[in-house]
């Protein structure tokens, strides 16, 4: 079945409240769409689980970007330490980046958000978090441009990111798999 929505944030809330067809879809369509979106959300959450974030004010079933706030815990989460909201890091850009489609060229706006998101992590010195983000990326599902944006935006601080070289090597493998000229695309990085 051709899914109508690939972006959970565009789904009207009414579709989730009781599964009814208020938008005119059949009950079966609603269920399939709901399941697909649920899988997508679970994929995003699974990819970010190493980050140990806590979602505040999250509407069940629909992670509206404007409502997502993350309180990023330190690696000593087991000790019960949680950073204050003043130090909250907005990772909403990461949903769009992780969900960039291999076959679709991303917009300048989305890539700008990715670059700005990475730059903010760099500015705040959150290199461990950036490493986890790179390590959690499912490259096989990402666009070429998004993979390159991750690699090039983090290039200036590569020495502070433990898995940067591994990440770039994986990007290279993925580009090779797609029969792209990885040496040219990764010029200056490898």
């Amino acid at each position: 079945m051709q899914l109508e929505y690939s972006d959970p944030t565009t789904v009207p809330r009414e579709m989730y409240s009781d599964g009814s067809s208020r938008t005119g879809y059949t009950t079966i369509s609603n269920q399939l769409i709901h399941e697909a979106l649920k899988q997508q959300i679970e994929h995003c959450l699974a990819a970010l689980q190493a980050v140990s974030f806590h979602l505040v004010d999250r509407t069940p079933g629909m992670p509206d970007r404007s409502m997502l706030r993350h309180v990023v815990t330190s690696n000593s989460a087991s000790e019960g330490y949680v950073q204050s909201n003043e130090d909250a890091t907005d990772l909403s850009w990461l949903f769009a980046a992780y969900n960039s489609v291999e076959s679709e060229k991303p917009s300048v706006k989305n890539l700008t958000n990715t670059v700005q998101g990475i730059n903010e992590l760099i500015q705040k010195g959150k290199f461990d978090l950036l490493a986890k983000i790179l390590g959690s990326a499912k490259l096989s599902q990402m666009s070429n441009e998004t993979m390159l944006a991750f690699a090039r935006s983090s290039f200036p601080v590569r020495e502070q990111i433990a898995n940067w070289k591994t990440f770039v090597a994986e990007v290279q493998s993925e580009l090779d798999r797609r029969e792209k000229n990885s040496a040219r695309l990764l010029k200056g990085l490898v």
């Binding site: 890539l111 700005q116 500015q123 200036p156």
Partner: protein
Amino acid sequence: MPVLNGPGSSLEESHYLGVAIKNAGGDQNHCGLLYRLDDGEVRMLHLAFHFDLRDDEWRPDYCCAPVGFELENQLVVAAFANAVANAEPNVPYGFDANGMVFDRSSGELLEAPAGKGLTCATFVLALLRTLGFEPLDEASWPVRDDDEEWQAKILELMKANDANEDHIEAVTRNGQSKRFRPEEVVGASITDSDEWSIEFDKAQEIAQKVLEDIAA
């Protein structure tokens, strides 16, 4: 054969990133980076002068050409240029770009060491270098005799435009620096990236073609 699109032309629709150059009077040329937004608008990000980084609508009195790498990287660098433009960093003008980096900031430059700064040409180089690209083999560049005269002229302009005296003094104290001219940076940038980093002698050949196109 021209290497640049003449005045009145813009970046080809299929391209996201380019460089632009024009004669700014006498033997002074000025260059900047072109990038395309989602609605098709082309903008020019350029360091006009001391603490004067501008993000302008494309002006057809410049010559331009796309940067010599593939569209995927063009899109990424265009996004980075957009991010820098949004951040509106304070960029000092100066001849020694050592230490001038965009690292660790949301498009903000690290506070520059005293006397350090960028020119319009080294701004383009710094932005590309931040993302791993090195169009020029900067180590092959000599300090040229006529660069000293140019730098003295620019220092006078900075004084006339009320640039901070400490900065001018620090720039002067640094002494003569290598100068990367706009036509050299533009010429290298539009050359296929397989040939990067381009050495000084080769860069002069390409720069000469750029100058011919500007004058035409």
